[in-house]
């Protein structure tokens, strides 16, 4: 494996092919938990684990899967990894498991996971697919962490549960309610696209 390809595969999802702000994919399952940094981190780690390992597994199996039942096989593999995440969370982190509720299970229908498998893993070698899955998960994670950072900070004046802004700060409670998630993501996409547009002009 050439080193250049590995690097390119790893960096593309972090920047110009980012699943969230370029393709606007897969925000369903995680946007709901971005009102707290801690929840977001756990959720995005789950997505990263699932994307990386299911890409790897399906890439290993790619020459044996009949294309007619491809989707079914993909879903089963993804669901297996999501069940692992769910069981591990329930065993080691029951508080968090309760808070995340149904959203862990919804990683199965996260479009990024299946999107990366269809677009990348089925045509590439297992090692490279693993890197691609991991990088896509990472590209997804950092965007949602930024959104969660602003939502928690503005909405509750604290970060990771610790008060940061002090008593003078009036909480913008709208930020931790559902509309805040939509607005924050819209602002993020806007800022990123303006920057990209400006660079393209140069």
């Amino acid at each position: 494996m050439a080193k250049g390809i590995v690097k390119k595969t790893f960096l593309a999802p972090l920047g110009k092919d980012n699943p969230v702000f370029v393709q606007v994919l897969g925000i369903c399952s995680t946007l709901a938990v971005t009102n707290k940094l801690e929840n977001t981190l756990v959720m995005t780690l789950g997505v990263m684990f699932t994307t990386a390992l299911s890409s790897w597994t399906l890439s290993l199996m790619r020459s044996w899967i009949p294309s007619r039942i491809r989707m079914m096989v993909e879903t089963l593999v993804i669901a297996t990894y999501v069940i692992l995440v769910d069981i591990a969370l329930k065993a080691f982190y029951p508080e968090m498991w309760k808070q995340l509720g149904p959203y862990v299970g919804l990683i199965i229908t996260n479009c990024i996971v299946m999107g990366r498998i269809e677009a990348f893993a089925l045509q590439n070698k297992p090692g490279l697919s693993l890197i691609d899955g991991l990088a896509s998960g990472l590209g997804y994670a950092y965007v949602l962490m930024i959104i969660a950072f602003f939502r928690e900070l503005l909405g509750t004046g604290s970060l990771w549960g610790y008060p940061i802004l002090g008593s003078w700060w009036t909480n913008w409670s709208i930020m931790i309610m559902p509309p805040g998630g939509f607005f924050m993501l819209a602002i993020f996409i806007w800022v990123v696209r303006e920057v990209v547009l400006k660079e393209a002009k140069k």
Partner: protein, 196 residues
Amino acid sequence: MNEALFPVAVFFAAIFTNNILLTNYLGMCSFLSVSKELETSAGLGIAVTFVMAITTALNWLVYRFILVPFSLEYLRFIVFIIVIAAFVQLIEMIIERYSEGLYFSLGIFLPLITVNCAILGASLFMVIREYDFITTFFFGLGSGLGWLLAILAMAGIRMRLKTAKIPKGLEGAGISLVIAGFMAMAFMGFSGMITI
């Protein structure tokens, strides 16, 4: 609250106060990509409502009578998604066979539905909230109708926006998310109407 009225309350709560799209962000992918035209939105919305109402009830039966007795609850993700996929496939075959008109207006949306997170989400919520069978059916139906309402409103607003001058960076997904945010705020006005 009156026991007998609980399913009705859940039904209205699922449409207005706990709208599955605007408060739980479920079904965003198809919501953002399909809401450009009113007609296609209506088609997809109706298909989602139908599939959600039936599969949530089906999944309740499967969960209660197969998974729980054999303590296989941890398999629910796989089982639910298989039930949903199988049901969608079956419906597609049935309407293709019996109604060509319906197939062309609704059938094209069916494959999209299997990967719609709102459908699986409704089934998972029903398990966590421990609804009984009747409540589950009304919850599924209400969630579907709520989704239909949200996507229709969105499509209506987006059609009006076609002539508007939008900042370059906000075009497409950005402006849709802003609209969704305002819609979520409007729907917050319903809160307090029903508490479940």
